[in-house]
Symmetry: C2
């Protein structure tokens, strides 16, 4: 009887603790990494680069179970898990990163790094170096004296983080949007490192239409008189410009299918809107007021530098795109979103077709959903099985 009770209670306890484990979020921690005397791809010196990074899972002894996750424009290295148990929101790809998930942290050591010139340096969880950082030479923020950086620089800083851990090989690199640019740049520049590359809502280079579209995000900031050629530190930040830039980004990243579900609709003449062109209509107010709330967390110059890094992108940064792509030896998986209006699916289609024509191992599957570009984040669960399979292919 005592024995039975013990066995039963043991079972109950084991069962309860497995429930607790399933419900318990993966608790993660932002770490900091500093690199002295970094030279940019453009040949400029930065005395000190400090970036944040996160890791999920355990690095194995052979140090060959590493998956690098590279983040999107408005994102940071918080790809999965929570900082505390009561953290209201998990990292952006928590649906596919964690124990037993598509990117299985029981198998892989998953690393993510805050980009240089991260758009949100005022978020407490972001550690980055950019125009808002103090220039050691002057003791003042760099402003536009910070050198222009490229996607290659993001990759090189990530490489330094990995090397500091003794890593010299990536089981895979995976990223969405701007993260996809970093992923393919890794594969094109350091082919000996990269075994697998997953490009989500991505591109191999930016075309004229996309470059000109991103320009609007920059122009919005430059129009704000508070921008003052980048010298606004210690003064009023160009929050109106940042608000507009963010509104353009959000609007472009969303397909009408979802936007029209979330934003207020209007059928009759809105009285305020009819009174003055200076009153906003409900749908615009919905977009711009939420953007205004987030604006103080961003840095205007950082957004300009991020826009530029994206605008300058061509995989491998060689004389031609072909040369860059030709260097790739990784297996590639492209996951464009069918309703994407920001990095339209033809960009991934073209990249995959290019690689295929070179005899590379390349796969492509489309994410369907109402979000448009954001399906690469919010609908990624749809491709969990596919990603998991791809990661275990040899």
């Amino acid at each position: 009887m005592t024995r039975l009770w013990k066995n039963l209670s043991g079972l109950v306890l084991a069962f309860a603790s497995s429930i607790a484990l399933a419900q318990q979020p993966m608790i993660v921690e932002k770490q900091s990494f500093t690199l002295e005397n970094y030279t940019t791809h453009g040949g400029e010196a930065i005395e000190e680069v400090t970036v944040g990074w996160e890791a999920y899972g355990e690095l194995n002894e052979a140090k060959d179970n590493v998956i690098l996750v590279t983040h999107f424009f408005s994102g940071n290295s918080h790809a999965a898990g929570k900082y505390t148990e009561n953290d209201p929101q998990a990292g952006y790809w928590d649906a596919i990163i964690g124990p037993g998930k598509a990117i299985d942290t029981n198998k892989y050591y998953v690393v993510s790094v805050d980009s240089l010139v991260n758009a949100y340096p005022n978020l407490p969880s972001v550690i980055t170096t950019g125009p808002a950082s103090i220039n050691p030479a002057t003791g003042e923020p760099y402003g536009l004296d910070f050198p222009v950086v490229t996607i290659r620089d993001f990759v090189n800083v990530q490489k330094a983080v990995l090397e500091s851990l003794g890593v010299s090989k990536l089981h895979a690199v995976i990223g969405a949007s701007m993260g996809s640019l970093q992923a393919i740049e890794w594969a094109a520049t350091y082919p000996d490192w990269v075994e697998r590359m997953v490009s989500v809502i991505g591109a191999a280079s930016l075309d004229a239409w996309t470059i000109a579209g991103l320009e609007a995000w920059a122009q919005a900031i430059k129009l704000d008189p508070n921008w003052n050629k980048g010298n606004y530190y210690g003064a009023q930040a160009p929050l109106d410009g940042v608000t507009m830039a963010q509104a353009l980004i959000t609007h472009g990243a969303m397909h009408p299918s979802i936007f029209n579900q979330l934003a207020p609709s209007q059928e009759t003449l809105p009285a305020e809107g009819l009174k003055s062109v200076d009153n906003q209509l409900p749908a615009a107010e919905w977009l711009y007021s939420s953007s205004r709330e987030r604006a103080p967390l961003a840095d205007a110059n950082h957004i300009l530098y991020l826009v530029r890094a994206n605008q300058l992108f061509v995989a491998g940064h060689q004389e031609t795109l072909k040369e860059g792509l030709n260097n790739i030896s990784a297996k590639s998986l492209f996951l464009p979103a069918s309703n994407d209006l920001l990095l339209m699916p033809y960009l991934a289609d073209n990249a995959a077709a290019h690689l295929e024509s070179m005899g590379k191992d390349v796969q492509l599957e489309t994410i369907d959903g109402p979000w448009g570009h954001l399906d690469g984040i919010y609908s990624i669960q749809q491709k969990a099985e596919r990603i998991s399979q791809f990661l275990s292919q040899h």
Copy 2:
């Protein structure tokens, strides 16, 4: 022999003059129309409204051969023909308006009217009334004291022009983009007038996504410190804001297929772009510099008022869209463009489906082409036969 020579030379002359006729442009003239004491749909008074208008063909005695052409956001009433023989460019729909063309000026009297608050009041060929006009009460430009106007107001002013000609019936109304809003507004508000309605790259109402997209055109202007809440007359005009607004419009109106053909591409790192975020990249420079050239012809406040008129649009301006559409008795033809990113084809699809569900006579056919929204202008020839047939249906 003399007789033969006479006959031959007669034939030659006739042939030569028919060639000359075919090559000779239709010469057209901008006329002016003034309306005293206009009351807007919103209930505000405008002491004097003056607008330009053009007509092609001859008004018949019964005055029942009138086709009204309503123009798009950046356009004006110059829909066809040339002002002089050496005029380098014909009106925007010259491909389908003229003698023997789809909208045959041998049969129809084609009328077009410059809209209120026309975006380009500084173009010599545009006559309009808006915030840049002199307010008779003050002797100064209205600025933001000009009342907000709606698509209904554009229609009401056109109606006054037609009534001044003794016209009380439209064989058809046809318009592209913002012109399509006026066309369907005509059909919904004055059903006794309108026998046929053609909506090219159009919509029955603006949805939240499109309203929020258009908001960027306004925000660009409002960010420019020279805008000064609309009080810039006699001072520096907000040309930077107008430049950005126009660039957004052009970019949104073009599909990547054509934009990437026309704009400079880049494969290697552009040296200037790598030097400073304040240097523009070639594709952006291409878009923004041409926009900057056109900016002095536009009026910033007029653009704000036009944006608002579009944002407020719901066909018929009743309590619900359904009520407005229900009033329509005209036969309708919708011609959305498959690659349209500005007024996406689902808007025309939804409008047609709505009308069909009400048992209305409605047709829809898609314009295919690389231009996107601009296929409604540049590829309209593709639908010439269809439009011609539609106009002769009873």
